[in-house]
């Protein structure tokens, strides 16, 4: 498929068209690994399950909680445009789906139902794919999971990161010397009114 045609359909939307995926093996249900522990914002229930499964392979450390990571990713995704939110749900379904999995990866089960070594193989196949969409999808999912995990300060000790320095007493405020009259007057007025600025 030409790059232009591909982009016109939307990167991930194009993938769904290209790979099909709502028939046959695509109907094999996902394994429910762990239910969300709070309301979801962007991901639907099935996409959430797939992401939990991916998170457990991207960050397999004993101190990592794949459900917490999936929730953090779901909450981070509220900041991307609505089209990208649709794309990530589709991407996770394509990742899960056994039909494109059979065609491109030679597997017959949904991602969530594979043993962990086979799941790692799927991630590697996406990483090494000839399709830029699959490679981009791999990196998007990988980075979302890693960012959610390493954003948590409990990981700092393992990577020998001492954390931010103490800045107490260093806060510096000029902008210009002196406080302008309008601000002094306004502050006095607020004090008299006993309230915040209108």
């Amino acid at each position: 498929m030409e790059r232009r045609t591909f982009l016109k359909r939307g990167i991930l939307g194009g993938a769904v068209l290209l790979l099909g995926g709502s028939l046959g093996l695509g109907l094999w249900p996902s394994r429910v690994i762990a239910l969300p522990t709070r309301a979801l914002h962007v991901l639907d229930a099935k996409a959430f399950q797939v992401l939990v499964a991916i998170a457990s392979r991207v960050v397999p450390m004993p101190d990592a909680d794949p459900v917490a990571i999936a929730h953090a990713v779901d909450e981070a995704l509220v900041r991307v445009p609505s089209e990208a939110q649709v794309d990530i749900n589709r991407l996770l379904k394509v990742f899960e789906n056994a039909l494109p999995g059979l065609i491109l990866d030679g597997r017959t089960a949904p991602f969530t139902r594979l043993p962990s070594t086979a799941q790692d193989r799927v991630l590697e196949r996406w990483r090494d794919s000839r399709l830029v969409m699959r490679r981009g999808g791999y990196h998007a999912l990988r980075k979302l999971c890693l960012g959610a995990y390493y954003g948590d300060s409990k990981t700092w000790k393992r990577i020998q990161y001492p954390g931010p320095p103490d800045t107490a007493g260093f806060d510096f405020d000029d902008s210009k010397a002196g406080t302008p009259a309008w601000l002094t007057a306004e502050a006095a007025r607020q004090k008299t009114d006993g309230g915040a600025a209108p």
Binding site: I11, V59, I159, P165, T179, E186
Partner: protein
């Protein structure tokens, strides 16, 4: 209460997220965007007695929010929570989104626009409205106001020191950088908002100056479109956003003004014009340049602690001019856990092992100089169906050549300063243990989404020039060619990239143009 806190709490600051009803506002001049361009325009005009309303999509954060933790600060301070990418997901777009714009999160490197670049704009891009000499007095004022000064070698952190020493050992040009800081304690966390207000960002300088001079600021307000009639912009129509900054509150703002200035940066300013149906015959959003950058991780015997100390204090422009090939410059990248974990290749145990050397890693980037070669046309900003911008940036063969060449030079510099191993960011990774092996990089896959590429410098998309067939705004005052009260003042007006970090180029140009606007009022 400190002055900054008093300004923040004053009645001149309107929090769009808190508006109980639709807002109907008017001003002499409405400036859209409070970053490097908008803050200088707002302050310069306000100080000349113009009634200015400054409008910002992001939040108004202060040192209280800048806790140096990525999980807390990145969602607040970056466009799309730092998840913005190009259309094919190949390039990560680092761009600020807050009162003060990207200046709140940049790494403080300050360069004037190189004189030969300004000359080239005149020769090849019909920029006749000003020359380098016109900019100089404004750079001087900017440098004074923002405490821009060259740092000494002794203040370099180990990450920058490795780059500097490696380049010098190889006989390459390298120098310390100029930074816009005052009373800096070298925390290293410029990228998540300066926790002590040492960085002279727009948040603590020109935005307060503008308010001090009488300007008003409306934040959490996203300008959707400008309405044109009779050869002028009549109103700006905007959506108010909630306290988290992404959901709409359902309330709107309508802004009437005699003059509108777009300063949303090289992705968002073109998007406002496109949403308004003002595409200047297809020119808007074209020739968007990114200084696309690749990284190299050098792992040393000793701790580097690339998270502490000024993120950028040294650079090499040895390879900036490569004739027919695309040039690049070398700078350091600070290392925070979240940012570095997503840049490091692999997943699972492999990735975890790579993170074990986190504190011993130096991270350096090669920043390519796009926009000067005919075979490097840049990217295109388009609109998604929702109206959000989408940047499509094809990485052309000339850029891949520059990346491949630069990856070798980065490795050579890191080995020359004592690195035990060097890893490009390709996935799967290739680890080198000696400089003589750098030609193995030729065999790496140089394709989108096989190696992380970053942009922290977005430029172009609303080019200035005196020929309306090739530019959106005229170069004498950055006024739109056909709409007589619309101006664009930000990094989007550059006809090429710059070959240097862009903040001071935007400051100087904005100050010059705002001064002209004030004089011709």
């Amino acid at each position: 209460m400190t002055k900054l806190a008093a300004v923040r709490a004053s009645s001149k600051v309107i929090d769009g997220s808190a508006a109980a009803s639709d807002l109907d506002l008017s001003a002499d001049t409405c400036v859209v965007g409070s970053g490097a361009g908008g803050a200088f325009v707002a302050a310069t005009l306000a100080e000349a007695g113009v009634d200015v309303l400054l409008v910002e999509e992001g939040g108004y954060y202060t040192t209280r929010d800048f806790d140096m933790r990525e999980a807390d600060t990145i969602p607040k301070l970056y466009q799309e929570g730092m998840q913005r990418t190009t259309a094919d997901l190949a390039i990560s777009v680092l761009q600020g989104r807050a009162v003060g714009g990207t200046t709140v999160v940049n790494w403080t490197t300050s360069f004037r626009t190189p004189e030969d670049v300004v000359d080239l704009w005149a020769k090849r891009h019909h920029v006749g409205g000003f020359g380098y000499a016109d900019l100089v007095p404004h750079y001087e004022k900017v440098e004074e106001r923002l405490s821009i000064h060259k740092v000494d070698e002794a203040s370099m952190n180990r990450n920058n020191r490795k780059l500097f020493d490696g380049c010098k050992a190889l006989g390459w040009q390298a120098d310390t950088l100029r930074r816009n800081v005052y009373s800096c304690m070298q925390t290293g966390y410029c990228g998540t908002g300066c926790p002590i207000n040492a960085k002279r960002s727009m948040l603590v300088t020109l935005v307060p100056d503008a308010l001090d001079a009488g300007a008003r600021l409306l934040f959490r307000c996203r300008v959707d479109r400008l309405d044109a009639a009779g050869g002028e912009i009549q109103t700006a129509r905007a959506t108010l956003l909630d306290t988290e900054g992404y959901a709409v509150t359902g309330k709107r703002a309508t802004i009437r003004a005699k003059r509108f200035v777009l300063s949303g940066g090289a992705i968002n300013s073109p998007a406002v014009l496109l949403r308004s149906g003002l595409d200047s015959g297809g020119l808007v959003g074209k020739r968007t340049f990114l200084h696309p950058a690749i990284g190299s991780v050098g792992t040393y015997e000793e701790r580097i602690e690339a998270f502490y100390g000024a993120p950028q204090s040294a650079a090499s422009h040895q390879f900036a001019r490569r004739g027919a090939e695309v040039g690049f410059f070398l700078e350091s990248v600070p290392s925070y856990p979240l940012l570095m974990s997503t840049a490091m290749p692999g997943f699972g145990a492999t990735h975890a092992e790579r993170m074990e050397s986190f504190a011993k890693n130096a991270i350096h980037a090669a920043i390519t100089i796009d926009g000067f070669h005919d075979d490097v046309p840049g990217g295109v900003v388009r609109l998604r169906p929702s109206g959000a911008p989408l940047l499509d940036y094809p990485i052309v063969p000339a850029l891949w050549e520059a990346f491949r060449f630069a990856q070798k030079r980065l490795a050579e510099a890191q080995f020359a300063s004592g690195a035990r191993s060097v890893t490009p960011l390709h996935d799967p990774p290739l680890v080198l243990t000696q400089a003589s092996d750098v030609d193995r990089f030729d065999a790496l896959p140089w394709e989108p989404c096989r190696v992380p590429i970053f942009t922290a410098h977005q430029m172009g998309g609303c080019a200035m020039g005196d020929d309306p067939k090739s530019s959106v705004v005229r170069s004498e005052d950055l006024r739109h060619h056909t709409l007589k009260n619309l101006f664009v003042v930000d990094g989007s007006v550059f006809p090429t990239s710059l070959g240097v970090n862009p903040q001071e180029s935007i400051y100087g140009l904005a100050r010059l143009m705002a001064t002209r606007m004030a004089e011709r009022r």
